[in-house]
Symmetry: D2
Subunit: 351 residues, 4 copies
């Protein structure tokens, strides 16, 4: 039994982390950090936790926390984790950072896209990008895990086999992604009010969303090349779920033809057939966000368009689970040598 | 480890039963009955179950089923369970019926409200009404459990302490209930299409909803009197959740005053303080359906109106869990002597 | 052609007023008041108005405004209209106040329920309660129209014929109302975020909602008696629409029977058959909010419960139209002698 | 004052046509055709029309109808209009067909994508594709107007200036479109039930949606070349609205640079600055479906991505208005010489 502390426990990702850890056999939550609600009962912030969690919210004191727990989750805005982390903390605890602070290896890219100075660049190299299906072995040895973004997890897992196996022209990648509104966080903003989001749909952050360089970097590792792509997020009137629809030109084979369904399917199966949380759907079935809601699954599939020579690859996940808290728990399981799916064997809830 | 069969496994309540039983340590599902989808893979009907359930849908053969399993759940339209049940089945298996067939003791009342002939009236007396918090001991010994309706579970648990303790004038009870659309089932009807339900709200079955006599009968047992009340259901544009808002005149005490908050609270605590699944909220907090979504909890609370002398009691539950499949599992746990909360320790999902 | 000014043009009710007045042949909007957005283009606040409204938002200067326009609409928080109004303004313009400042005749009741001091009690007596179907003649002569609340319009019109004709026991009235979220306004609050409201339902303001005394006062005039009732509002995950479900005991006739459907229907027809905007639905049809969306209609109907002797009366309206801006325009039409339905002949939008 | 008949008046597009024509000064609806509801009052099918429309539903008798009206709208499934149309009808009335029967000039393409035989190929050449902003002059002279599809109207108007002005490489066009659920029609299907659509998002018809060849043909005329593109529709949990997000490589200019914002903006302005119903939004503002809801507007805008050399063009419309019934009315206005915006000056409804 290890002890966990959460900094940022009252955001939506933090709340989901609490939900998941409560069902985890090997972990006990010792610290519900929330600067906004210090000294308030946690269940007063999230009444679903009434009679389940009796703790009060604590400050973001990472040093004190490091003395009390074995793992710290930071579900906080960009910059906070980097500003608090230091060697004496890392000597005592593992850190799983749900923010973007340690996701991007090139600090200049981070500072350009996020518009803030990185306060702990010395740990960027060491931090492991926590996309479990891809970096499993490195994660096991990590002190700092950079938990991937929601859009990025969905986008990368959707495209990974195509890039890794060299099936597509990486200059032609376009990702059109759609997200439920919990991805926008729990801050009180007019643009996230029910009446502004409901019965509405829009793109946002067009050409400028911060998950773009993260996707490019990770897919670049897979393809062993530099990748520049278009990523367009959209806001959808639903609570949870991300759907990524990705487009790319299939590379022609020596005989001038494009890869067949079977060949592309084989690429997906090569990487995912032993992965519990990535489900390659059967031919003709498009992923739907509702089929993974509340669970750690990512459903992926693809369609080949003979007319245009493109592949349309699709992926769906729950942005708060596999896109945030679920993957964080999966990372923790890897770091501490628990069963990788412990606490995550949640059957998707439908409807 | 017992074996379970589900008749009606592809309705929403049946699907939820599958979800819950998959997380139950003592049960294995052996039979996914669905007359509409015979021979089809279950996951083709509910893609959330892809790579989780590999079984195919079977016919509604209760006799054959009785040879293979220890418990049969019937999540079917009214009349089906009564038409199939017989002594040789009951000698072999326990039956938990999620339909209304065995909920109402007076067969004439059943036949009047449901408009069908009861095919097995000889078992009505024996069947135990499966409202676990109230009939726990009888359920443990039952061969047939009549699993309560969704609205009824919510309505009864909301009002039970008030009636049982004689705090209200039972002639003045009015229950105004609101339900998410999964309560209407998965049948393809124009009135349940997305565009007809979304951005809409209506009452339906006004003065004639079939859960009315069930609520009246059960509250009548609590109050030891005959109760006639108004029950009005409404359709709400959400998937899950029932909210019951109940009104009644508080009976005056000897000194002419009405009971205080503390006195009424004591009545709720008397019956629910040791109940894991009924949460009496703190003063001033109104139940919200989202706080119990996906879980077996019922949240209840009340407000006293000094001006009118009425109490407004409120209850919220997830209609597919505590209102159907969750309570069915809870009943199964009681019948088989498992831990009552086994498979039901689900933390509500928010948002 | 008259000129209108709106104070509070960027709230939801203010925005709806703009939408409606743009389609009104006799009015031109000269002043888009919004203290929060001074000097900002109106369409930057509501992009639906792009290329339709070119004006910039102005301050709340009622005196200057009085020189420029013929009618001022105040769609502002409680207290603002009362704090600005004075004789020299009323000498120049008509005021239609969408806030509660002049709705309640007893200033003590206003101050108790609203918790603020009334700054212009001298005008309360003069102000006319702008429920057009009931106070039509007085409205025509008014300088100040107190535009009714959304819940109150719906509740009063639902119950009016029953109370006016003495068909019900007014001590037994219970109103259970459900509202879309636009009724909560456009303020940035966590509780109104999409993820908090969506897939959720709750009661709020139980026994304490400020529309209660307004309903009681107006129904009291109808019944020529003092009325104390229960009013419980609920928040529903939809943008627009209010549904009121009202309960009351029918008074027995001399022969001991309760009034028949035909007798109650006659009461509704007596008051509404010539009313364009109140539609008494056919027998057995329950009002649905979607059927009046975007329009000035109120749909009402009732069901008699022979078992309990109660009538269940139901009403549905669009809270931003008949519940706010539409009724304000209807009042303006009466005040200025325009055709009462001018600018309001909007066919409800479905779906 | 002309007379209109609607065949298919009880589908969602038919219902919207009724709503719009009721507000049109020059038209009277004489025939509410609906084979499914013959002899039923129209308002019994759409209760929003109670006390507004008193007519009963009629059969689909186009010949009889031709004797009674000046214009026939067919809002029916593919194939019906082609099966009924003939010279003696066209001699008497104008036909505005909201189905796909006369949209595609190459009958083989039609028959391949729609999978049905075309019953009146002799009229395909004559029929005018009713995209008003592009084919205005031809429409004025047409006997048969092929009213464009919802996705196609949105997609074409979003990309038209880019293709027409030769700014993009037409081999690189990808359209990722998202639609509210009313686009799926009012047929009772499980996949369109509230609980299946709500809190869910999916792509469908990937590489095979029937609007693809229509978009390709029309953009081909604009670009004077053959165009093959990817079009992927998605289902969104909202009633109304289509958002198209389109991607294409900008063609480099002689100096090797890509066109600037101002150059691309000039192309949009060239075609749309005098168009009432196409609003080119200001720089940095992304179209949102809610801003056009209930109206005939299409909002378009674009972003240039310097990194990838692509333009991301976006368009939003109300699928039932500009995407169906509104455009049909606009076409009628052109055909009969009415003011083009008559009956269509609807301000978008927000929220």
């Amino acid at each position: 039994m290890i002890k966990a502390g959460i900094i940022g426990a009252t955001g939506y990702a933090g709340g989901e982390l609490v939900r998941l850890l409560l069902g985890h056999k090997e972990v006990e939550i010792k610290w519900f950090g929330s600067r906004s609600y210090i000294d308030k009962k946690y269940y007063e912030v999230y009444q679903n936790m009434f009679q389940i969690v009796d703790a009060v919210c604590m400050d973001d004191n990472m040093e004190e926390l490091a003395d009390q727990v074995d793992v710290i989750f930071t579900a906080t805005p960009q910059g906070l984790c980097a500003s608090l982390i230091k060697e004496e903390i890392l000597k005592k605890v593992k850190v799983i950072d749900l923010s973007a602070d340690f996701r991007i290896k090139d600090v200049k890219v981070y500072e350009k896209w996020y518009g803030i100075e990185h306060k702990a660049p010395q740990y960027i190299e060491e931090a492991v990008y926590g996309l479990c299906e891809i970096n499993r072995e490195d994660i096991k040895k990590a002190r700092i895990v950079a938990n991937p973004g929601c859009y990025t997890t969905c986008s990368i897992l959707t495209l990974y086999p195509l890039v890794k196996e060299g099936l597509i022209d990486t200059d032609t990648i376009i990702i059109d992604a759609k997200s439920g509104t919990s991805g926008a966080g729990r801050g009180a903003k007019v643009s996230n009010l029910f009446c502004e989001v409901n019965e509405n749909m829009k793109a946002y952050g067009v050409t400028s969303h911060r998950h773009t360089p993260e996707i490019e970097e990770q897919l670049g590792y897979a393809g062993n090349c530099e990748i520049t792509l278009n990523f367009t997020p959209h806001l959808v009137p639903m609570n949870r779920g991300i759907l990524a629809t990705a487009y790319a030109k299939l590379l022609k084979k020596a005989d001038g033809s494009i890869p067949s369904y079977e060949e592309v399917k084989a690429a997906y199966d090569k990487y995912y057939q032993n992965e519990k949380f990535v489900r390659v759907l059967e031919k003709g079935i498009c992923p739907e966000t509702k089929w993974v809601e509340g669970s750690n699954y990512v459903d992926v599939n693809f369609v080949i368009d003979e007319r245009t020579g493109r592949v349309i690859a699709m992926g769906a996940l729950d942005n708060l689970v596999k896109g945030a808290a679920g993957q964080a728990v999966q990372n923790m399981n890897l770091v501490f040598g628990f069963k990788e799916s412990e606490g995550l064997e949640l059957v998707p809830m439908f409807p």
